[in-house]
C-alpha cells in the first residue's frame, strides 16, 4: 500500500465493510424464501410438465389411446413403446410402456397425440428405490392419471395454440376426450404461480 493512498484505501475498506454488512443485515430480516418441501408444496403452474399419464374417457371408461405410435416415433430418447391392437370400430394400444427413468419431459408425445390420450400431470414425485417402479405400463399410467392433477396441455390445445393464422377457426378442443378438470386455455393464469414461501421476499 502506498503512503498517499493509505487513507483513501482505509476509507474505502470501511465503506465496503459497512455496505456489505448492511446488505446481509437487511436480508436477515427478510422472510426466508425456502419452503419445507414435503410439508408445504408450492403451487405448480397450469402448464407444469410432470409425470406422464394416460387418459380414459370419463363416461365410457374407454381408453383414449388408439395405438397410433406417433408418440413412440417422436420421442427423442425413445422411451415409449406402443403396440397397436386392431379392432373394428377403433384401434387400441395393446401394449403401452414408458421408461420414465430416461424420459426428458419434453412434452413432444403430448404435442403429437391426436386423441389427447397422453398427458402430463402436475407432479414430479415418484422417488423410488427400485428402478422397475419407473417402468410404467398401461395400468400404472392410468392410475397416475386418476391420482394426479393433469396439467393444462393436451395435444389439441398445444396445436391450437401454435396454429398459423389461416387455420384459426374450428374448436376441436371441445371434443369429449378432454381430460377432466383442465383449466381454460386462456385462463392458464399463473396467479398462484410463485412458490408460497417466496412471497415475503418480494
Amino acid at each position: 500500500m502506498q503512503r498517499g493512498h493509505f487513507w483513501r484505501e482505509a476509507g474505502q475498506l470501511g465503506w465496503s465493510v459497512y455496505h456489505a454488512m448492511r446488505v446481509t443485515l437487511v436480508n436477515l430480516f427478510r422472510t426466508p424464501v425456502t419452503v419445507h418441501y414435503p410439508d408445504i408444496e408450492r403451487a405448480y403452474p397450469d402448464r407444469y410438465r410432470g409425470l406422464l399419464a394416460l387418459t380414459y374417457h370419463p363416461e365410457t371408461g374407454e381408453e383414449n389411446c388408439i395405438g397410433c405410435r406417433l408418440c413412440e416415433f417422436v420421442c427423442p430418447p425413445q422411451v415409449i413403446k406402443v403396440e397397436m391392437l386392431k379392432a373394428e370400430k377403433r384401434n387400441f394400444a395393446k401394449v403401452f410402456t414408458l421408461e420414465l427413468y430416461a424420459c426428458e419431459f419434453c412434452e413432444l408425445c403430448v404435442q403429437v397425440c391426436p386423441t389427447d390420450a397422453i398427458i402430463m400431470t402436475k407432479s414430479f414425485d415418484l422417488a423410488t428405490t427400485d428402478r422397475r417402479d419407473m417402468l410404467l405400463d398401461k395400468d400404472r399410467l392410468h392410475a397416475l392419471g386418476q391420482r394426479l392433477t393433469p396439467s393444462w396441455a393436451t395435444g389439441n390445445r398445444l396445436r391450437d395454440m401454435q396454429a398459423p393464422p389461416k387455420k384459426a377457426k374450428a374448436e376441436p378442443a371441445a371434443k369429449a376426450v378432454a381430460p377432466p378438470s383442465a383449466a381454460e386455455p386462456t385462463a392458464a393464469a399463473p396467479k398462484g404461480d410463485a412458490p408460497a414461501g417466496s412471497g415475503g421476499a418480494r
Binding site: M1, V17, A20, M21, V23, T24, L25, N27, L28, R30, T31, P32, V33, T34, H36, A201
Partner: protein
C-alpha cells in the same frame, strides 16, 4: 472436609470442559441459523423443534461414520493431529474467570497464557496438513503457518492494550478494572484496539475473508480434507471452541466481562451474552465477504495491522505513563 486444591481444580475443570463442549455444539447451531436467515433460508429445522437437536444429531452422525485413514498418510501424525489441535483450543478456557472468583485457574499471567496456548493450535494444524500426505492439505498447512504467525502478533499487541491500561496480566484484574468504563469506550485507544483485535481475531480463527487455509473452492477443505468421522468432529469442535474462547477473551478485555445491570450473580449471563454477541459479529463478518488471497492477507498483516498495533501500544504506554 476440605478438598485439596488439586481435586477442586480437577472438578472445576471437568465441569467447565463439559459446559464448553455443550456450548460449542450449540454455538454451531446458532451460527447455522443465523447464516441461514441472512441468506433467506430457514436453516436446520427437522431434528427436534426448530432444529434444536441438530447438533446432537450431527455429533451422533459423525461418531457413526467410518474413520478413513489414507493409505499414504503418516499414520501416527495423522491420528494425533486432531487431539493436538483440540487440546489447546479447550485449554484456553482455563484462565477465563466467568465471574469474580469463578474460574478454573486465575493465573497472574492469564492473558499471556491464553495467547500462548491459543497459538499452539498451529502445531496440530500443521500435523494434520503434513500427515495427510495430500497436496491440498500440504498447501493448506503451509498457508496456515504463514497466516497464523502473521496474525498472532497483531492479535497479541491488540490484546496488550487493555493489559497496559490495567497494569496487570491477570484476567480478573482486567475485568475488575472495567467496572466504571469498559475499555471499548476508552477514548480513541479503546476503539482502535478493539477494531484491531476483531480483525486479528477473524484472521486467527481462519474465517472468511481470511479463511485461506480451508478455502474449499481452491483447497477443497484444506488441512482436514482427508479427515472423516470423529477425527473431523474433533477438529471442528476445536475450531469452534477457539472461536468461542476468543469471543470470551474479547468480551473480557473490551466489553467489561461480567459487568452489567442486575445483581452480581447474573454477571456470568452478561458475560456469556457479550461473548455470544462477539461470536455473532464474527459470524456476520464471515457471511458477508469474499475471501482474499494469501499474499494479500500477509500484506495486510505486515504492512498495515502490525505497524498500526505497535503504534497503538506505544501510544497506550504514553497515555498510561503521562496521562495518569
Amino acid at each position: 472436609m476440605v478438598l485439596s486444591p488439586l481435586v477442586t481444580a480437577a472438578i472445576a475443570g471437568f465441569i467447565l470442559l463439559n459446559a464448553i463442549v455443550g456450548l460449542v455444539t450449540y454455538v454451531t447451531l446458532l451460527e447455522r441459523k443465523f447464516a441461514a436467515r441472512m441468506q433467506s433460508r430457514i436453516g436446520p429445522y427437522r431434528v427436534g423443534p426448530h432444529g434444536l437437536l441438530q447438533p446432537i444429531a450431527d455429533a451422533l452422525k459423525l461418531m457413526m461414520k467410518e474413520d478413513i485413514v489414507p493409505t499414504a498418510a503418516d499414520r501416527p501424525v495423522f491420528n494425533l493431529a486432531p487431539v493436538v489441535f483440540l487440546v489447546p483450543c479447550l485449554l484456553i478456557f482455563a484462565t477465563i474467570p466467568f465471574a469474580p472468583n469463578l474460574g478454573v485457574a486465575d493465573l497472574n499471567i492469564g492473558v499471556l497464557f491464553f495467547l500462548a496456548v491459543s497459538s499452539m493450535e498451529i502445531v496440530g494444524l500443521f500435523m494434520a496438513g503434513w500427515g495427510s500426505n495430500n497436496k491440498y492439505a500440504l498447501i493448506s498447512a503451509m498457508r496456515a503457518v504463514n497466516q497464523i504467525i502473521s496474525y498472532d502478533l497483531p492479535f497479541i499487541f491488540a490484546a496488550l492494550v487493555p493489559v497496559l491500561l490495567t497494569g496487570s496480566m491477570r484476567l480478573s484484574d482486567i475485568a475488575a478494572a472495567q467496572d466504571g468504563l469498559w475499555f471499548v469506550f476508552y477514548p480513541v485507544l479503546g476503539q482502535l484496539a478493539f477494531l484491531a483485535f476483531m480483525i486479528a481475531a477473524v484472521a486467527a480463527e481462519n474465517r472468511v475473508p481470511f479463511d485461506i487455509l480451508e478455502a474449499e473452492s481452491e483447497l477443497v477443505a484444506g488441512f482436514r480434507v482427508e479427515y472423516s468421522g470423529m477425527k473431523f468432529a474433533l477438529i471442528q469442535l476445536g475450531e469452534y471452541a477457539h472461536v468461542l474462547g476468543t469471543s470470551f477473551l474479547g468480551a473480557l478485555l473490551f466489553l467489561g466481562a461480567w459487568a452489567g445491570p442486575g445483581p452480581i450473580w447474573i454477571g456470568p449471563v452478561w458475560f456469556l451474552l457479550k461473548a455470544l454477541g462477539l461470536f455473532l459479529m464474527l459470524t456476520w463478518i464471515r457471511w458477508s465477504f469474499v475471501r482474499i488471497r494469501v499474499d494479500q492477507i500477509l500484506a495486510v498483516s505486515w504492512q498495515l495491522l502490525l505497524p498500526a498495533t505497535l503504534i497503538l501500544i506505544v501510544a497506550t504506554a504514553v497515555v498510561v505513563v503521562w496521562g495518569g
